[in-house]
């Protein structure tokens, strides 16, 4: 471990913006993709169920 304090860790030797920016944008993209896929799946299932219900009602 080569960090002497928490603030030193967050300062990243003066490169805080660039290092945290890189890891931050990566984390944001990963989380965003997962959230999007999940909501996509929910929407598809909801639509399919609705379709199925309306088919059952008409026949």
């Amino acid at each position: 471990m080569h960090w002497n304090s928490v603030s030193e860790f967050f300062a990243m030797g003066g490169y805080a913006l660039y290092v945290w920016g890189s890891f931050g944008v990566t984390a944001a993209v990963v989380v965003g993709e997962i959230v999007l896929l999940r909501s996509q799946r929910k929407a598809i299932l909801r639509n399919l169920r609705n379709e199925l219900l309306s088919e059952g009602a008409s026949s």
């Binding site: 990243m12 030797g13 490169y15 290092v19 920016g21 890189s22 944008v25 896929l37 799946r41 598809i44």
Partner: protein
């Protein structure tokens, strides 16, 4: 009892692959999570400070995996697309379209983290260097693939058109890969190569490799989840989907 033979072609049918993908993705997701935690720990607490770039070099732990995945996913996508053209299998086109958005995101991440690295080290967010420019073209190829897919209503025809685009675009991947050798680029050469000893500290190398594998697992998990969505949408009028919902 019957002898257990795995019939691989069984999984070429979307119906069977839907179930298989559903059983597989949680494992890949779990591996991705564990490896990412280990990789991040090494990235920030084990890997030493770089002699030249100080702490700024730590961007490497996301930049290299993202860039590698952006190229590799393109190759896999084009492979599926070509397979689909040759054998006319439905699942191939679905796999190719499931990979494209993730590949585009990795190309985007490669460019953004590269800009965030270029600014402090080169003094510029962007230069029209061969490596950077060819990676930008890769992002455009992904976006072109997605736009073309969205613009054709019949999914089977869209798959074919996209397959041709994907295959033509493959020429760009070796250009990105070898750009640092073929041209005098501002971008540094490969840090890791198969033919010579790596030019970095062992812990840095391990951190990077673990992050690369974590990104791999993530990409596989996400592609499997997305292909399940695509299968459900495209097979919505089949009996098996209706049964699966009940």
């Amino acid at each position: 009892m019957k002898t257990r033979v795995i019939h691989w072609f069984k999984f070429a049918s979307p119906q069977n692959f839907y179930g298989l993908a559903g059983r597989m993705w949680p494992w890949f997701a779990a591996l991705a999570g564990v490896l990412a935690l280990v990789g991040l720990w090494i990235s920030f607490f084990v890997a030493p400070t770089d002699a030249q770039q100080g702490e700024g070099y730590r961007i490497i732990f996301v930049h290299v995996p993202a860039s590698q995945m952006s190229m590799f996913i393109y190759l896999v996508m084009a492979g599926w697309a070509g397979f689909g053209l040759a054998f006319n299998t439905r699942l191939s086109g679905m796999m190719a379209s499931a990979l494209a958005p993730t590949g585009a995101l990795f190309a985007f991440l490669s460019l953004v983290t590269g800009a965030l690295w270029g600014k402090p080290m080169w003094g510029a967010w962007w230069v029209w260097d061969a490596r950077l420019t060819s990676e930008l073209i890769l992002l455009f190829l992904y976006l072109g693939f997605l736009a073309l897919q969205a613009s054709i209503d019949d999914p089977r025809r869209a798959d074919k058109a996209c397959a041709v685009l994907a295959l033509v675009g493959v020429v760009n991947v070796p250009i990105i890969y070898f750009s640092v050798k073929w041209w005098n680029t501002l971008h540094q050469g490969a840090s890791v190569s198969l033919t010579r000893a790596p030019s970095m500290a062992t812990t840095m190398l391990w951190g990077m490799l673990i992050m690369v594998v974590a990104f791999w697992m993530y990409a596989i998990a996400v592609a499997l989840v997305r292909v399940r969505n695509i299968i459900l949408e495209r097979e919505r009028h089949t009996e098996w989907v209706k049964h699966a919902l009940e």
